[in-house]
Amino acid sequence: MSDLATASYLAQADNETRLNKTLRPPFDVVHRFSAQSIIMTTIAAILLFVFLSPILLVVAVSFGEKIEGASWVWAFDPSNYARVFVGIGWPDEITLLYAYKLGYTLAYAVLGSLIAIAFAFPFTYFLSQCSRPVQAAWLVFILASLSMSEVFIVMGWDIMLSNRSGLPALFKATGVTEWLKETGWLAVLKDWGLANPRNVKFKTSQMATVLTMAYLVWPYAVILLYAPLSRIDRSMIEAARTMGAGSFTVMRTVIVPVVRIPVMGTLLLLFVYLLGAYVTVTYFAEPAHQTLPVSIYEAIRGATLNAPFGAAQAVVLLSTAGVFIFASLWLSRLAEKRGR
Protein backbone atom coordinates (compact mmCIF):
# COMPACT_ATOMS: atom_id res chain seq x y z
CA MET A 1 0.00 0.00 0.00
CA SER A 2 1.46 3.33 -0.98
CA ASP A 3 1.82 6.17 1.42
CA LEU A 4 -0.84 8.11 -0.43
CA ALA A 5 -3.34 5.27 -0.04
CA THR A 6 -2.48 4.98 3.65
CA ALA A 7 -3.01 8.68 4.12
CA SER A 8 -6.36 8.63 2.34
CA TYR A 9 -7.39 5.55 4.33
CA LEU A 10 -6.45 7.27 7.57
CA ALA A 11 -8.30 10.39 6.54
CA GLN A 12 -11.35 8.32 5.75
CA ALA A 13 -11.15 6.52 9.08
CA ASP A 14 -10.74 9.84 10.79
CA ASN A 15 -13.79 11.14 8.96
CA GLU A 16 -15.75 8.10 10.01
CA THR A 17 -14.89 8.54 13.65
CA ARG A 18 -15.84 12.17 13.37
CA LEU A 19 -19.10 11.17 11.75
CA ASN A 20 -19.66 8.64 14.49
CA LYS A 21 -18.95 11.29 17.05
CA THR A 22 -21.62 13.53 15.67
CA LEU A 23 -24.15 10.74 15.18
CA ARG A 24 -23.68 8.97 18.48
CA PRO A 25 -24.86 11.09 21.37
CA PRO A 26 -21.75 11.86 23.39
CA PHE A 27 -21.88 11.30 27.10
CA ASP A 28 -22.62 14.90 28.04
CA VAL A 29 -25.69 15.02 25.81
CA VAL A 30 -27.20 12.05 27.62
CA HIS A 31 -26.35 13.69 30.88
CA ARG A 32 -27.87 17.00 29.81
CA PHE A 33 -30.96 15.32 28.48
CA SER A 34 -31.72 13.91 31.88
CA ALA A 35 -30.99 17.25 33.56
CA GLN A 36 -33.34 18.86 31.11
CA SER A 37 -36.07 16.35 31.73
CA ILE A 38 -35.64 16.85 35.46
CA ILE A 39 -36.11 20.62 34.99
CA MET A 40 -39.15 20.17 32.76
CA THR A 41 -40.74 17.61 35.09
CA THR A 42 -40.22 19.90 38.08
CA ILE A 43 -41.80 22.78 36.19
CA ALA A 44 -44.72 20.61 35.12
CA ALA A 45 -45.23 19.60 38.76
CA ILE A 46 -45.18 23.24 39.89
CA LEU A 47 -47.65 24.17 37.17
CA LEU A 48 -50.01 21.37 38.13
CA PHE A 49 -49.78 22.25 41.81
CA VAL A 50 -49.92 26.06 41.86
CA PHE A 51 -51.48 26.89 38.48
CA LEU A 52 -54.04 24.16 37.89
CA SER A 53 -54.99 22.69 41.26
CA PRO A 54 -56.54 25.91 42.63
CA ILE A 55 -59.03 25.88 39.78
CA LEU A 56 -59.85 22.20 40.29
CA LEU A 57 -60.21 22.83 44.03
CA VAL A 58 -62.78 25.55 43.43
CA VAL A 59 -64.83 23.07 41.40
CA ALA A 60 -64.42 20.31 44.00
CA VAL A 61 -65.31 22.52 46.97
CA SER A 62 -68.37 23.87 45.18
CA PHE A 63 -70.05 20.47 45.67
CA GLY A 64 -69.29 20.47 49.41
CA GLU A 65 -71.92 20.66 52.08
CA LYS A 66 -72.13 23.45 54.65
CA ILE A 67 -72.72 22.36 58.24
CA GLU A 68 -74.78 24.90 60.19
CA GLY A 69 -72.69 26.69 62.78
CA ALA A 70 -69.54 24.91 61.68
CA SER A 71 -67.33 24.55 58.67
CA TRP A 72 -68.19 22.32 55.73
CA VAL A 73 -67.55 18.76 54.57
CA TRP A 74 -66.70 17.17 51.24
CA ALA A 75 -69.85 15.94 49.51
CA PHE A 76 -71.48 15.73 46.15
CA ASP A 77 -74.20 18.24 46.68
CA PRO A 78 -75.42 20.22 43.69
CA SER A 79 -77.75 22.32 45.84
CA ASN A 80 -75.19 25.16 45.95
CA TYR A 81 -75.69 25.61 42.23
CA ALA A 82 -79.45 25.50 42.57
CA ARG A 83 -79.11 28.23 45.17
CA VAL A 84 -77.15 30.44 42.77
CA PHE A 85 -79.82 30.23 40.10
CA VAL A 86 -83.17 29.77 41.87
CA GLY A 87 -82.50 30.37 45.57
CA ILE A 88 -82.18 28.25 48.69
CA GLY A 89 -85.90 27.48 49.07
CA TRP A 90 -86.23 25.82 45.68
CA PRO A 91 -88.45 24.06 44.59
CA ASP A 92 -90.99 25.48 47.08
CA GLU A 93 -90.15 29.09 46.29
CA ILE A 94 -87.88 30.77 43.84
CA THR A 95 -85.62 33.64 44.84
CA LEU A 96 -83.59 35.21 42.12
CA LEU A 97 -81.23 37.16 44.39
CA TYR A 98 -78.06 35.53 43.06
CA ALA A 99 -79.39 35.27 39.53
CA TYR A 100 -79.82 39.04 39.68
CA LYS A 101 -76.27 39.39 40.97
CA LEU A 102 -75.09 37.37 37.98
CA GLY A 103 -77.20 39.62 35.78
CA TYR A 104 -75.61 42.76 37.21
CA THR A 105 -72.16 41.19 36.84
CA LEU A 106 -72.80 40.54 33.15
CA ALA A 107 -74.45 43.90 32.50
CA TYR A 108 -71.67 45.97 34.10
CA ALA A 109 -68.99 43.94 32.33
CA VAL A 110 -70.67 44.23 28.91
CA LEU A 111 -71.30 47.97 29.21
CA GLY A 112 -67.87 48.69 30.69
CA SER A 113 -66.01 46.82 27.96
CA LEU A 114 -68.14 48.32 25.16
CA ILE A 115 -67.56 51.89 26.35
CA ALA A 116 -63.83 51.23 26.78
CA ILE A 117 -63.53 49.86 23.22
CA ALA A 118 -65.55 52.71 21.76
CA PHE A 119 -62.97 55.20 23.00
CA ALA A 120 -59.90 53.01 22.77
CA PHE A 121 -60.37 52.08 19.11
CA PRO A 122 -60.00 55.55 17.55
CA PHE A 123 -57.28 56.40 20.04
CA THR A 124 -55.24 53.33 19.16
CA TYR A 125 -55.80 53.87 15.44
CA PHE A 126 -54.38 57.39 15.69
CA LEU A 127 -51.58 56.09 17.92
CA SER A 128 -50.54 53.52 15.33
CA GLN A 129 -50.08 56.33 12.81
CA CYS A 130 -47.61 58.21 14.99
CA SER A 131 -43.85 57.80 14.62
CA ARG A 132 -42.20 54.97 16.49
CA PRO A 133 -40.60 57.06 19.29
CA VAL A 134 -43.89 58.90 19.84
CA GLN A 135 -45.65 55.54 19.99
CA ALA A 136 -43.16 54.32 22.59
CA ALA A 137 -43.76 57.41 24.74
CA TRP A 138 -47.54 56.96 24.57
CA LEU A 139 -47.16 53.28 25.38
CA VAL A 140 -45.18 54.10 28.53
CA PHE A 141 -48.04 56.38 29.57
CA ILE A 142 -50.68 53.74 28.79
CA LEU A 143 -48.77 50.97 30.57
CA ALA A 144 -48.22 53.13 33.64
CA SER A 145 -51.95 53.88 33.86
CA LEU A 146 -52.77 50.24 33.11
CA SER A 147 -50.72 49.07 36.01
CA MET A 148 -52.48 51.40 38.47
CA SER A 149 -54.21 49.21 41.01
CA GLU A 150 -57.99 49.08 41.05
CA VAL A 151 -57.68 50.43 44.60
CA PHE A 152 -55.90 53.59 43.44
CA ILE A 153 -58.30 54.16 40.58
CA VAL A 154 -61.30 53.82 42.83
CA MET A 155 -59.63 56.25 45.19
CA GLY A 156 -59.27 58.82 42.40
CA TRP A 157 -62.83 58.43 41.16
CA ASP A 158 -64.10 58.49 44.70
CA ILE A 159 -62.60 61.93 45.23
CA MET A 160 -63.89 63.10 41.85
CA LEU A 161 -67.44 61.93 42.46
CA SER A 162 -67.78 62.47 46.20
CA ASN A 163 -70.28 65.03 47.41
CA ARG A 164 -67.93 67.11 49.55
CA SER A 165 -65.28 67.70 46.94
CA GLY A 166 -65.33 66.76 43.32
CA LEU A 167 -67.99 67.10 40.64
CA PRO A 168 -71.11 67.72 42.81
CA ALA A 169 -69.25 70.46 44.70
CA LEU A 170 -68.02 71.86 41.40
CA PHE A 171 -71.58 71.84 40.00
CA LYS A 172 -72.80 73.71 43.03
CA ALA A 173 -70.01 76.27 42.99
CA THR A 174 -70.39 77.06 39.30
CA GLY A 175 -74.17 77.30 39.45
CA VAL A 176 -74.83 74.24 37.29
CA THR A 177 -76.91 72.77 40.13
CA GLU A 178 -79.16 75.88 40.20
CA TRP A 179 -79.56 75.71 36.45
CA LEU A 180 -80.46 72.01 36.65
CA LYS A 181 -83.05 72.78 39.31
CA GLU A 182 -84.61 75.57 37.26
CA THR A 183 -84.79 73.58 34.05
CA GLY A 184 -86.20 70.51 35.82
CA TRP A 185 -83.28 68.29 34.86
CA LEU A 186 -82.47 67.65 38.51
CA ALA A 187 -85.81 65.84 38.89
CA VAL A 188 -84.96 63.70 35.87
CA LEU A 189 -81.52 62.94 37.28
CA LYS A 190 -83.18 62.06 40.57
CA ASP A 191 -85.36 59.54 38.77
CA TRP A 192 -82.20 58.03 37.31
CA GLY A 193 -80.68 57.83 40.80
CA LEU A 194 -78.09 60.47 40.02
CA ALA A 195 -79.34 63.25 42.30
CA ASN A 196 -80.82 64.00 45.70
CA PRO A 197 -83.19 66.94 46.29
CA ARG A 198 -80.29 69.32 46.90
CA ASN A 199 -77.65 68.45 44.35
CA VAL A 200 -76.44 65.88 41.88
CA LYS A 201 -75.12 62.67 43.43
CA PHE A 202 -72.91 60.24 41.55
CA LYS A 203 -72.04 57.93 44.42
CA THR A 204 -73.43 55.33 44.74
CA SER A 205 -74.79 54.82 41.26
CA GLN A 206 -74.69 52.29 38.47
CA MET A 207 -73.33 54.96 36.18
CA ALA A 208 -70.30 55.49 38.42
CA THR A 209 -69.77 51.72 38.55
CA VAL A 210 -69.89 51.26 34.79
CA LEU A 211 -67.78 54.32 34.02
CA THR A 212 -65.09 53.34 36.51
CA MET A 213 -65.06 49.85 35.01
CA ALA A 214 -64.68 51.30 31.53
CA TYR A 215 -61.84 53.43 32.84
CA LEU A 216 -60.26 50.37 34.42
CA VAL A 217 -59.98 48.46 31.14
CA TRP A 218 -59.43 51.34 28.74
CA PRO A 219 -55.61 50.99 28.81
CA TYR A 220 -55.97 47.21 28.34
CA ALA A 221 -58.13 47.88 25.32
CA VAL A 222 -55.44 50.12 23.82
CA ILE A 223 -52.70 47.55 24.46
CA LEU A 224 -54.75 44.71 22.98
CA LEU A 225 -55.86 46.69 19.93
CA TYR A 226 -52.40 48.09 19.36
CA ALA A 227 -50.97 44.95 17.74
CA PRO A 228 -53.67 44.42 15.08
CA LEU A 229 -54.06 48.12 14.34
CA SER A 230 -50.35 48.75 13.94
CA ARG A 231 -50.06 45.78 11.59
CA ILE A 232 -52.62 47.05 9.11
CA ASP A 233 -51.12 47.21 5.67
CA ARG A 234 -50.66 50.93 5.07
CA SER A 235 -50.42 50.51 1.32
CA MET A 236 -54.03 49.33 1.27
CA ILE A 237 -55.16 52.53 2.95
CA GLU A 238 -53.06 54.60 0.57
CA ALA A 239 -54.46 52.70 -2.41
CA ALA A 240 -58.00 53.37 -1.22
CA ARG A 241 -57.16 57.05 -0.71
CA THR A 242 -55.63 57.31 -4.19
CA MET A 243 -58.81 55.91 -5.63
CA GLY A 244 -60.73 58.71 -3.95
CA ALA A 245 -62.06 57.10 -0.77
CA GLY A 246 -62.66 59.47 2.14
CA SER A 247 -61.59 58.73 5.71
CA PHE A 248 -64.95 57.24 6.58
CA THR A 249 -64.98 54.98 3.54
CA VAL A 250 -61.43 53.86 4.28
CA MET A 251 -62.47 53.05 7.85
CA ARG A 252 -65.53 51.12 6.65
CA THR A 253 -64.08 49.21 3.74
CA VAL A 254 -60.41 48.67 4.65
CA ILE A 255 -59.83 48.94 8.37
CA VAL A 256 -62.98 47.53 9.93
CA PRO A 257 -62.97 44.27 7.92
CA VAL A 258 -59.32 43.63 8.86
CA VAL A 259 -59.68 44.34 12.58
CA ARG A 260 -63.22 43.14 13.17
CA ILE A 261 -62.13 39.83 14.66
CA PRO A 262 -59.34 41.19 16.88
CA VAL A 263 -61.77 43.82 18.15
CA MET A 264 -64.27 41.12 19.08
CA GLY A 265 -61.46 39.17 20.79
CA THR A 266 -60.40 42.26 22.75
CA LEU A 267 -63.98 42.93 23.77
CA LEU A 268 -64.28 39.40 25.14
CA LEU A 269 -61.03 39.62 27.11
CA LEU A 270 -62.04 42.93 28.69
CA PHE A 271 -65.42 41.48 29.48
CA VAL A 272 -63.88 38.47 31.23
CA TYR A 273 -61.55 40.75 33.17
CA LEU A 274 -64.44 42.93 34.31
CA LEU A 275 -66.48 39.92 35.43
CA GLY A 276 -64.08 39.75 38.37
CA ALA A 277 -64.05 43.45 39.30
CA TYR A 278 -64.38 43.72 43.06
CA VAL A 279 -63.23 47.03 44.54
CA THR A 280 -65.17 49.17 42.07
CA VAL A 281 -68.41 47.38 42.78
CA THR A 282 -68.05 47.39 46.57
CA TYR A 283 -67.35 51.07 46.41
CA PHE A 284 -69.63 52.48 43.74
CA ALA A 285 -72.62 50.15 43.56
CA GLU A 286 -75.27 50.14 46.24
CA PRO A 287 -75.74 46.74 47.97
CA ALA A 288 -78.86 45.89 45.98
CA HIS A 289 -76.93 46.31 42.71
CA GLN A 290 -73.79 44.43 43.65
CA THR A 291 -72.26 41.54 41.77
CA LEU A 292 -71.17 37.94 42.20
CA PRO A 293 -67.52 38.72 43.07
CA VAL A 294 -68.72 40.66 46.12
CA SER A 295 -70.92 37.82 47.35
CA ILE A 296 -68.13 35.31 46.58
CA TYR A 297 -65.89 37.26 48.91
CA GLU A 298 -68.64 37.44 51.55
CA ALA A 299 -69.12 33.69 51.40
CA ILE A 300 -65.45 32.78 51.54
CA ARG A 301 -63.79 35.33 53.77
CA GLY A 302 -66.52 37.74 54.80
CA ALA A 303 -69.71 37.72 56.82
CA THR A 304 -71.59 34.65 55.62
CA LEU A 305 -68.72 32.11 55.65
CA ASN A 306 -70.03 29.39 53.40
CA ALA A 307 -67.08 28.20 51.34
CA PRO A 308 -68.97 25.68 49.16
CA PHE A 309 -71.55 28.29 48.18
CA GLY A 310 -68.82 30.83 47.46
CA ALA A 311 -67.03 28.24 45.34
CA ALA A 312 -70.24 27.46 43.45
CA GLN A 313 -70.66 31.13 42.61
CA ALA A 314 -67.01 31.23 41.53
CA VAL A 315 -67.61 28.24 39.24
CA VAL A 316 -70.62 29.97 37.70
CA LEU A 317 -68.47 33.05 37.11
CA LEU A 318 -65.66 30.86 35.77
CA SER A 319 -67.92 29.00 33.36
CA THR A 320 -69.32 32.28 32.10
CA ALA A 321 -65.76 33.48 31.54
CA GLY A 322 -64.79 30.11 30.05
CA VAL A 323 -67.54 30.23 27.46
CA PHE A 324 -66.33 33.67 26.39
CA ILE A 325 -62.62 32.73 26.40
CA PHE A 326 -63.34 29.78 24.11
CA ALA A 327 -65.33 32.07 21.90
CA SER A 328 -62.39 34.46 21.67
CA LEU A 329 -59.91 31.64 20.98
CA TRP A 330 -62.18 30.37 18.26
CA LEU A 331 -62.42 33.85 16.80
CA SER A 332 -58.66 34.30 16.74
CA ARG A 333 -58.27 30.88 15.04
CA LEU A 334 -60.76 32.06 12.47
CA ALA A 335 -58.73 35.24 12.04
CA GLU A 336 -55.55 33.24 11.52
CA LYS A 337 -57.19 31.09 8.88
CA ARG A 338 -58.42 34.15 7.05
CA GLY A 339 -54.99 35.74 7.29
CA ARG A 340 -53.37 32.86 5.43
Binding site: I55, L56, R132, S145, M155, Y283, A314
Partner: protein, 268 residues
Protein backbone atom coordinates in the same frame (compact mmCIF):
# COMPACT_ATOMS: atom_id res chain seq x y z
CA UNK B 1 -57.25 70.38 10.57
CA UNK B 2 -57.66 66.61 10.57
CA UNK B 3 -54.34 66.14 12.33
CA UNK B 4 -55.42 68.69 14.95
CA UNK B 5 -58.65 66.75 15.54
CA UNK B 6 -56.72 63.52 15.91
CA UNK B 7 -54.24 64.95 18.37
CA UNK B 8 -57.04 66.72 20.20
CA UNK B 9 -58.88 63.44 20.65
CA UNK B 10 -55.72 61.70 21.85
CA UNK B 11 -55.01 64.47 24.32
CA UNK B 12 -58.59 64.39 25.65
CA UNK B 13 -58.22 60.64 26.21
CA UNK B 14 -54.90 61.24 27.96
CA UNK B 15 -56.47 63.91 30.16
CA UNK B 16 -59.37 61.63 30.99
CA UNK B 17 -56.95 58.85 31.94
CA UNK B 18 -54.66 61.06 33.98
CA UNK B 19 -57.40 63.04 35.77
CA UNK B 20 -58.16 60.61 38.63
CA UNK B 21 -54.47 59.78 38.97
CA UNK B 22 -53.49 63.44 39.14
CA UNK B 23 -56.22 64.09 41.67
CA UNK B 24 -55.04 61.24 43.88
CA UNK B 25 -51.49 62.55 43.67
CA UNK B 26 -52.46 66.13 44.51
CA UNK B 27 -54.61 64.97 47.40
CA UNK B 28 -51.45 63.74 49.07
CA UNK B 29 -50.68 67.37 49.80
CA UNK B 30 -53.74 67.83 52.04
CA UNK B 31 -52.88 69.26 55.44
CA UNK B 32 -55.89 67.72 57.19
CA UNK B 33 -56.87 64.08 57.57
CA UNK B 34 -59.48 64.05 54.83
CA UNK B 35 -59.06 63.81 51.08
CA UNK B 36 -60.14 67.10 49.63
CA UNK B 37 -59.65 68.44 46.19
CA UNK B 38 -58.22 70.98 45.68
CA UNK B 39 -55.97 70.19 48.67
CA UNK B 40 -56.34 72.30 51.80
CA UNK B 41 -53.26 73.67 53.62
CA UNK B 42 -50.82 71.96 51.23
CA UNK B 43 -47.95 70.23 53.01
CA UNK B 44 -45.47 67.44 52.45
CA UNK B 45 -46.05 66.03 55.94
CA UNK B 46 -47.85 62.99 54.48
CA UNK B 47 -44.68 61.86 52.75
CA UNK B 48 -42.90 61.97 56.09
CA UNK B 49 -45.74 59.93 57.62
CA UNK B 50 -45.68 57.36 54.86
CA UNK B 51 -41.94 56.81 54.68
CA UNK B 52 -40.87 57.50 58.26
CA UNK B 53 -43.27 58.02 61.10
CA UNK B 54 -46.02 55.46 60.47
CA UNK B 55 -44.32 52.03 60.45
CA UNK B 56 -47.43 50.25 59.13
CA UNK B 57 -46.89 51.82 55.69
CA UNK B 58 -43.21 51.08 55.65
CA UNK B 59 -43.84 47.47 56.60
CA UNK B 60 -46.46 47.03 53.89
CA UNK B 61 -44.12 48.71 51.40
CA UNK B 62 -41.47 46.18 52.35
CA UNK B 63 -43.95 43.32 51.82
CA UNK B 64 -44.95 44.73 48.44
CA UNK B 65 -41.33 44.86 47.33
CA UNK B 66 -40.53 41.35 48.59
CA UNK B 67 -43.58 39.82 46.92
CA UNK B 68 -43.02 41.69 43.67
CA UNK B 69 -39.31 40.93 43.26
CA UNK B 70 -39.53 37.32 44.42
CA UNK B 71 -42.55 36.45 42.32
CA UNK B 72 -41.03 38.13 39.25
CA UNK B 73 -37.83 36.11 39.71
CA UNK B 74 -39.74 32.86 40.14
CA UNK B 75 -42.00 33.64 37.20
CA UNK B 76 -38.99 34.20 34.91
CA UNK B 77 -37.24 31.06 36.16
CA UNK B 78 -40.35 28.95 35.54
CA UNK B 79 -41.34 30.40 32.18
CA UNK B 80 -37.88 30.56 30.59
CA UNK B 81 -37.52 26.78 30.17
CA UNK B 82 -41.14 26.53 29.05
CA UNK B 83 -40.74 29.20 26.39
CA UNK B 84 -37.39 27.75 25.31
CA UNK B 85 -38.74 24.22 25.05
CA UNK B 86 -41.75 25.41 23.10
CA UNK B 87 -39.55 27.41 20.72
CA UNK B 88 -36.90 24.72 20.31
CA UNK B 89 -38.93 21.54 20.15
CA UNK B 90 -42.62 22.50 20.00
CA UNK B 91 -43.84 19.14 21.29
CA UNK B 92 -47.35 18.47 22.55
CA UNK B 93 -45.88 18.46 26.06
CA UNK B 94 -44.34 21.90 25.69
CA UNK B 95 -47.53 23.27 24.18
CA UNK B 96 -49.51 21.90 27.14
CA UNK B 97 -47.08 23.53 29.58
CA UNK B 98 -47.38 26.86 27.74
CA UNK B 99 -51.16 26.72 27.91
CA UNK B 100 -51.08 25.80 31.58
CA UNK B 101 -48.65 28.61 32.45
CA UNK B 102 -50.87 31.20 30.80
CA UNK B 103 -54.13 29.87 32.21
CA UNK B 104 -54.38 31.80 35.53
CA UNK B 105 -53.93 35.15 33.82
CA UNK B 106 -56.88 34.47 31.52
CA UNK B 107 -59.35 33.78 34.33
CA UNK B 108 -61.22 36.32 36.41
CA UNK B 109 -58.62 36.92 39.15
CA UNK B 110 -61.16 36.49 41.93
CA UNK B 111 -61.80 32.87 40.91
CA UNK B 112 -58.10 32.08 40.93
CA UNK B 113 -57.76 33.90 44.26
CA UNK B 114 -60.53 31.77 45.77
CA UNK B 115 -58.85 28.60 44.48
CA UNK B 116 -55.47 29.63 45.87
CA UNK B 117 -56.98 30.38 49.26
CA UNK B 118 -58.44 26.83 49.29
CA UNK B 119 -55.11 25.36 48.21
CA UNK B 120 -53.11 27.14 50.91
CA UNK B 121 -55.74 26.29 53.50
CA UNK B 122 -55.39 22.59 52.69
CA UNK B 123 -51.62 22.33 52.38
CA UNK B 124 -50.93 24.96 55.03
CA UNK B 125 -49.29 28.31 54.58
CA UNK B 126 -52.31 30.55 54.17
CA UNK B 127 -51.19 33.95 55.38
CA UNK B 128 -47.51 33.13 54.91
CA UNK B 129 -45.73 35.59 52.65
CA UNK B 130 -44.12 32.72 50.72
CA UNK B 131 -47.51 31.49 49.53
CA UNK B 132 -48.30 35.07 48.56
CA UNK B 133 -45.19 35.04 46.39
CA UNK B 134 -46.11 31.71 44.78
CA UNK B 135 -49.64 32.97 44.14
CA UNK B 136 -48.42 36.06 42.31
CA UNK B 137 -45.94 33.92 40.39
CA UNK B 138 -48.78 31.75 39.13
CA UNK B 139 -51.10 34.66 38.39
CA UNK B 140 -48.56 36.71 36.43
CA UNK B 141 -46.33 34.06 34.81
CA UNK B 142 -48.15 34.62 31.52
CA UNK B 143 -46.35 37.97 31.08
CA UNK B 144 -42.71 36.79 30.99
CA UNK B 145 -43.90 33.75 29.04
CA UNK B 146 -45.14 36.05 26.30
CA UNK B 147 -42.20 38.47 26.29
CA UNK B 148 -39.62 35.64 26.34
CA UNK B 149 -41.41 33.85 23.50
CA UNK B 150 -41.39 37.05 21.45
CA UNK B 151 -37.69 37.42 22.25
CA UNK B 152 -36.89 33.87 21.16
CA UNK B 153 -38.78 34.34 17.92
CA UNK B 154 -36.86 37.49 17.14
CA UNK B 155 -33.47 35.72 17.30
CA UNK B 156 -31.74 35.76 13.96
CA UNK B 157 -31.74 32.13 12.72
CA UNK B 158 -28.56 32.79 10.73
CA UNK B 159 -26.67 33.35 13.96
CA UNK B 160 -27.81 29.95 15.20
CA UNK B 161 -26.90 28.26 11.92
CA UNK B 162 -23.50 29.93 11.93
CA UNK B 163 -22.84 28.83 15.49
CA UNK B 164 -23.85 25.29 14.67
CA UNK B 165 -21.64 25.17 11.58
CA UNK B 166 -18.72 26.27 13.70
CA UNK B 167 -19.39 23.39 16.05
CA UNK B 168 -21.29 25.00 18.90
CA UNK B 169 -23.48 22.55 20.78
CA UNK B 170 -26.80 23.47 22.37
CA UNK B 171 -25.47 24.79 25.71
CA UNK B 172 -22.87 26.90 23.91
CA UNK B 173 -25.33 28.55 21.56
CA UNK B 174 -27.74 28.96 24.45
CA UNK B 175 -25.05 30.77 26.40
CA UNK B 176 -23.47 32.81 23.63
CA UNK B 177 -26.42 33.64 21.37
CA UNK B 178 -29.83 32.90 22.79
CA UNK B 179 -29.48 34.26 26.32
CA UNK B 180 -27.78 37.55 25.35
CA UNK B 181 -30.22 38.21 22.50
CA UNK B 182 -33.30 37.61 24.65
CA UNK B 183 -32.02 39.40 27.74
CA UNK B 184 -33.98 42.61 27.17
CA UNK B 185 -37.19 40.62 26.57
CA UNK B 186 -36.59 38.57 29.72
CA UNK B 187 -36.04 41.72 31.75
CA UNK B 188 -39.18 43.28 30.30
CA UNK B 189 -41.18 40.25 31.40
CA UNK B 190 -39.57 40.46 34.82
CA UNK B 191 -40.52 44.10 35.24
CA UNK B 192 -44.06 43.60 33.94
CA UNK B 193 -44.52 41.11 36.80
CA UNK B 194 -42.91 43.46 39.32
CA UNK B 195 -45.23 46.31 38.43
CA UNK B 196 -48.44 44.29 38.18
CA UNK B 197 -47.63 42.47 41.42
CA UNK B 198 -47.18 45.84 43.13
CA UNK B 199 -50.67 46.84 42.10
CA UNK B 200 -52.43 43.50 42.29
CA UNK B 201 -55.15 43.40 44.89
CA UNK B 202 -57.69 40.61 44.82
CA UNK B 203 -55.46 37.52 44.82
CA UNK B 204 -53.16 38.79 47.56
CA UNK B 205 -56.32 39.84 49.44
CA UNK B 206 -57.46 36.22 49.51
CA UNK B 207 -54.15 34.50 50.20
CA UNK B 208 -52.76 36.92 52.78
CA UNK B 209 -55.71 36.15 55.09
CA UNK B 210 -55.03 39.46 56.86
CA UNK B 211 -51.77 38.05 58.26
CA UNK B 212 -49.64 40.59 56.41
CA UNK B 213 -50.43 43.40 54.04
CA UNK B 214 -48.98 44.94 50.95
CA UNK B 215 -49.52 48.63 50.22
CA UNK B 216 -52.64 48.04 48.10
CA UNK B 217 -54.06 45.82 50.85
CA UNK B 218 -53.19 48.33 53.53
CA UNK B 219 -55.02 51.01 51.59
CA UNK B 220 -58.08 48.82 51.15
CA UNK B 221 -58.04 47.85 54.84
CA UNK B 222 -57.89 51.49 55.87
CA UNK B 223 -60.90 52.30 53.70
CA UNK B 224 -63.25 51.83 56.64
CA UNK B 225 -61.93 55.06 58.06
CA UNK B 226 -62.22 56.72 54.68
CA UNK B 227 -59.40 57.65 52.35
CA UNK B 228 -56.58 59.57 53.93
CA UNK B 229 -53.93 61.61 52.16
CA UNK B 230 -51.20 59.26 53.40
CA UNK B 231 -52.59 56.56 51.10
CA UNK B 232 -52.18 58.89 48.17
CA UNK B 233 -48.44 58.97 48.88
CA UNK B 234 -48.48 55.22 48.29
CA UNK B 235 -50.22 55.79 44.97
CA UNK B 236 -47.61 58.36 43.95
CA UNK B 237 -44.74 56.06 44.89
CA UNK B 238 -46.21 53.22 42.88
CA UNK B 239 -46.95 55.42 39.91
CA UNK B 240 -43.37 56.70 39.83
CA UNK B 241 -42.04 53.13 40.00
CA UNK B 242 -44.28 52.09 37.10
CA UNK B 243 -43.26 55.03 34.93
CA UNK B 244 -39.57 54.45 35.69
CA UNK B 245 -39.83 50.74 34.88
CA UNK B 246 -41.74 51.14 31.63
CA UNK B 247 -39.51 53.99 30.50
CA UNK B 248 -36.52 51.73 31.09
CA UNK B 249 -38.23 48.96 29.09
CA UNK B 250 -38.92 51.42 26.29
CA UNK B 251 -35.38 52.76 26.41
CA UNK B 252 -33.54 49.42 26.44
CA UNK B 253 -36.04 47.20 24.68
CA UNK B 254 -38.32 47.70 21.72
CA UNK B 255 -41.62 48.47 23.46
CA UNK B 256 -43.78 48.70 20.33
CA UNK B 257 -42.37 45.34 19.17
CA UNK B 258 -43.02 43.79 22.61
CA UNK B 259 -46.62 44.86 22.34
CA UNK B 260 -46.99 43.32 18.94
CA UNK B 261 -46.24 46.06 16.41
CA UNK B 262 -44.98 44.93 13.03
CA UNK B 263 -41.19 44.51 13.43
CA UNK B 264 -40.53 45.46 9.81
CA UNK B 265 -41.99 48.95 10.12
CA UNK B 266 -39.31 50.49 12.25
CA UNK B 267 -38.69 53.59 10.24
CA UNK B 268 -42.09 55.25 9.93
Amino acid sequence: MKAALKHGFMLICAAYISLPIVIVCLSALNGGRSMLFPPKDPTFARFWEFFVSEPVWLRSMENSIIVALASATLAVLITWPIAYDQWKRNTAFSRALTGLAGLPFALPPIVFGVGLSFLWTFVGGLGNIFTGILSHTALLAALPLVTISIGLQSIDRYHLDAAQTMGADEPTSLRTIILPQTLSYTLSGFFFVVVLSFHEFIVIFFVSASAYSTVTLQIFNSLRNGFTPTMAVGAITFLLVSIAVFSAVARYGDLPRLLGADPARKDN
